[in-house]
């Protein structure tokens, strides 16, 4: 094409990474995490949960149509959005906390980008072979065999991406509904489009962008490097032991060489194409695969493993210099207690406690009371005074069949509930039937007999309790207006 001319080598730094498979400690952990996450993500979307009434029976559902989030036995309402803030806070502190201890474990082992890329690469290896074979095929170009393999690979990729899109949207629109609705095109346009968007994103990010997400798009690497300290364990190449690199034979012959035999295996297994021997760098997501690769070589050569491993800078420094622990600028012994470790730990516990506290103490009922101010009160025929309140109730799902209203703060109140279309005669009892999982807007009239009417404003408390057990569910303070007595 005339407009183009972009070849990979014209963009230094954009080189295609062919990742070699490796086995070892960290690979096993990674695979286990991958398996658990995939089972969790794809499986939990299908987990049923029996809820009373006509409410959805999916265990985890962020229902947009209802504006509610179901998580097993818990139901969250829009007014619980505050909890989401806590969840986000918790997640950030968890990220910072683990970061101070072991660097980018999040990136290396549990970031969705890492997980899905990993899975997609497994598929790639299935069809196009391991690294060397992939490179060979890339050089061969489009032979019929290669094309067939490519098609198969992309098909499986697409399939995974599609199921991912369906599952993800299933958490919002109902899994069964999404799977059936989108496949038969009977779901709403929004649902179909969202599934396609997430299918495309998964396919592009995990299949094509891969390490480029970590290198160019993700913000986390930018500030995580500022969060490391000398005691953070990070993937480290112990240069003092490895350098100078040289052939294994030369060392056996007593030559001046280190343990690194320059086999490049650590580079070839790296998902982001990093050479860890150049020291810690932005591209390293801390997955430990290079350590696995190096260990396998060291084991073969019968040398101690751990030439590349998770180690703190301080530790490495100490080993390299075989000296007293790293000194602070003032020459004092380096402090090994990490303020940040305890700081984040405390914050993490506080947020977790706040979360648990909020969930445990949250009432099954929410009530919001707005007194009618136009007019503030009305006189009835017998001289009694009536105030009108607009009350919104929401039931989080505690199965409360009927709610009893009581009022405290004025004498002999008569409570009448009037709402859409109900005639007052029918509703002239202070209890209302309350179907579980609903919200209701009620017009509640409180009438105080003439002899008990307050002068001016009187604070009152509207209390809602379970009509069966008498247990108080929630209360709201408001006021009752009476006519100001003329002197």
């Amino acid at each position: 094409m005339s407009v183009v001319g972009y070849q990979a080598d014209e963009f230094p730094g954009v080189k295609k990474v062919f990742q070699k498979s490796v086995s070892g400690r960290f690979r096993t952990i990674k695979s286990a995490v991958l398996l658990a996450m995939f089972i969790g993500f794809y499986g939990l979307a299908w987990l049923p949960w029996d809820r009373a009434g006509a409410t959805p029976n999916q265990a985890f559902l962020m229902s947009f149509s209802e504006g509610k989030f179901y998580a097993g036995p818990l139901t969250f309402w829009p007014q619980d959005l505050f909890l989401l803030t806590l969840v986000l806070l918790f997640s950030s502190f968890a990220l910072f906390f683990t970061n101070t201890i072991v660097g980018r474990v999040w990136c290396g082992f549990s970031c969705p980008q890492t997980l899905w890329t990993d899975a997609f690469q497994m598929v790639e290896r299935l069809f196009e072979g391991d690294r060397n074979e992939q490179i060979k095929r890339a050089k061969e170009g489009n032979t019929p065999d290669n094309i067939a393999r490519k098609i198969a690979k992309h098909f499986v990729w697409f399939l995974i991406a599609y199921v991912t899109g369906l599952t993800l949207i299933g958490y919002f629109a109902g899994t069964a509904h999404t799977f059936i609705g989108v496949t038969t095109l009977s779901a709403s346009t929004t649902v179909c489009v969202m599934v396609l968007v997430f299918t495309a994103l998964t396919y592009l990010l995990a299949g094509h962008a891969r390490e480029k997400v970590c290198l160019y798009m993700c913000p986390w690497p930018r500030f995580q490097s500022a969060m490391l300290d000398p005691d953070t364990k990070i993937v480290t190449y112990h240069a003092w032991r490895g350098e100078p690199r040289g052939k294994a034979k030369k060392k056996a012959a007593g030559g001046e060489v280190g343990d690194c035999v320059d086999c490049s295996l650590c580079v070839n297994v790296c998902p982001t194409g990093v050479d860890i021997r150049n020291g810690l760098q932005l591209g390293c997501i801390g997955c430990g695969l290079c350590a696995d690769a190096c260990d396998s070589i060291m084991t073969k050569l019968q040398r101690p493993t751990g030439l590349i491993n998770f180690a703190s800078l301080a530790q490495t420094h100490d080993e390299a210099h075989l000296t007293a622990p790293l000194q602070n600028a003032g020459g004092k012994q380096r402090k090994t207690t990490k303020v940040r470790f305890y700081g984040y730990g405390v914050m993490l516990s506080l947020v977790a406690a706040a979360m648990v506290f909020t969930i445990v103490t949250r009432t099954g009922f929410d009530v919001a009371v707005t007194p009618e101010r136009n007019p503030p009160f009305v006189t009835l025929s017998d001289g009694s005074i009536r105030n009108i309140y607009n009350i919104r109730l929401s039931d989080r799902g505690d199965d409360v069949p009927s709610v009893l209203f009581t009022v405290e703060g004025v004498n002999n109140p008569i409570i009448t509930i009037s709402h859409a279309g109900s005639t007052l005669a029918e509703a002239e009892t202070p209890t209302i039937d309350f179907t579980s999982f609903t919200a209701a807007a009620l017009r509640v009239l409180i009438t105080v007999p003439a002899q008990d009417r307050p002068s001016g404003q009187e604070p009152i408390m509207i209390r809602l309790s379970n009509a069966q057990t008498g247990e108080v569910m929630t209360e709201a303070s408001t006021y009752f207006w009476g006519p100001e007595n003329r002197p």
Binding site: M1, V3, V4, G5, Y6, D9, E10, P12, E372, R373, N374, P375, V378, T379, L380, S381, D382, G383, R386, I388, T416, S418, H419, A420, G421, S422, T423, L424, A425, E426, R443, L445, A450
Partner: protein, 299 residues
């Protein structure tokens, strides 16, 4: 223009341009970028052909699809209107009591009534339906001049009060100031005040100087006990609710030269369904009356 050559240091091609011996490296825009750019241009062309886009003074080119935002809004409004009409037809067919007893229709009627109330009624009766002493009756107390049952409220809304239409609610209270002395009127006002069972004078009301006049002139409409009459729109004089004020001089003024309100016949302005929705909304505001029992006990 020089020859296109490869830069030995970076290994990139140059553009062939040369300024003072400095050659520019060729770092072309990536293919996908170019493709997006071309696609955007193609999109813009298609858009300009299909949709109104090129400004021509005070209008734009029409676009092949004939789409305009205004037309689409009109279509949407027509859709809503059709939906409303269908709902309205259902409401128009049903009795008020049936609508009120129906769980969904009652909510529909309540909400529809609320918006109709906001457009037509709050100017006089207030947003909360509280009315205004000396002007407009309150719709949230339990005292109704013409009755507070659904049907009665519906009739009042539909035909209005003291307007020129034939079926309007109508009554007139004579202006007693024209043929009673000030003293007689004051005595009459004392009787009216004593009609309330809570008044200390209530027990001796028939011995009061004004009683004879009350009995002669007022009982026909307001009743011997002053309980009023919904059929005649005569207010209850024995309770604590006073449209034109319950102080002695206010009552005197009302006996001498009574004021009487007018309300338009909303049946002439609004459709049947809306009137029904209004009746249901007003009834559930808090002051409506329920079954016959309650009305009977108020009489």
């Amino acid at each position: 223009m020089g020859k296109i050559e490869k830069d030995p240091i970076t290994g990139q091609y140059t553009t062939g341009h040369q300024w003072n011996g400095i050659r520019e490296l060729r770092t072309p825009v990536p293919t996908w970028w170019m493709l997006v750019w071309i696609a955007s241009i193609a999109f813009a062309v298609v858009y300009a052909v299909l949709l109104p886009s090129i400004p021509l003074g005070n209008k734009t080119t029409a676009g092949a699809t004939g789409f305009t935002a205004r037309l689409s809004l009109e279509a949407q409004l027509a859709e809503v209107r059709a939906e409303r009409e269908a709902e309205g037809a259902v409401l128009a067919d049903l009795e008020l009591a049936e609508i009120a007893a129906h769980p969904e229709l009652s909510v529909l009627a309540f909400n529809g009534g609320r918006s109709a109330f906001a457009v037509n009624c709050i100017q006089c009766h207030g947003a909360g339906g509280g009315g205004q002493v000396g002007q407009f009756p309150s719709l949230i107390d339990d005292d109704w001049l013409w009755g507070g049952q659904l049907e009665e409220i519906w009739y009042s809304i539909n035909h209005g009060i003291r307007n020129e239409t034939l079926d309007a609610r109508f009554n007139l209270m004579p202006a007693y100031g024209d043929w009673m002395s000030d003293e007689e009127i004051a005595d009459l006002a004392d009787v009216v005040l004593a009609l309330n069972p809570a008044s200390p004078d209530h027990g001796g009301v028939s011995q009061m100087p004004g009683w004879e006049n009350y009995d002669l002139n007022c009982t026909a409409c307001h009743g011997a006990a002053g309980l009023g009459n919904h059929d005649l729109g005569a207010p209850n004089l024995s309770d604590a609710v006073w449209l034109y004020g319950g102080a002695r001089d206010e009552i005197i003024a009302q006996i001498a030269y009574p004021r009487m309100g007018v309300m338009p016949a909303f049946g002439e302005r609004l459709d049947e369904a809306t009137i029904k929705m209004l009746a249901i909304y007003v009834h559930s505001l808090g002051g409506g009356e329920g079954g016959d029992e309650e009305t009977a006990s108020a009489q």
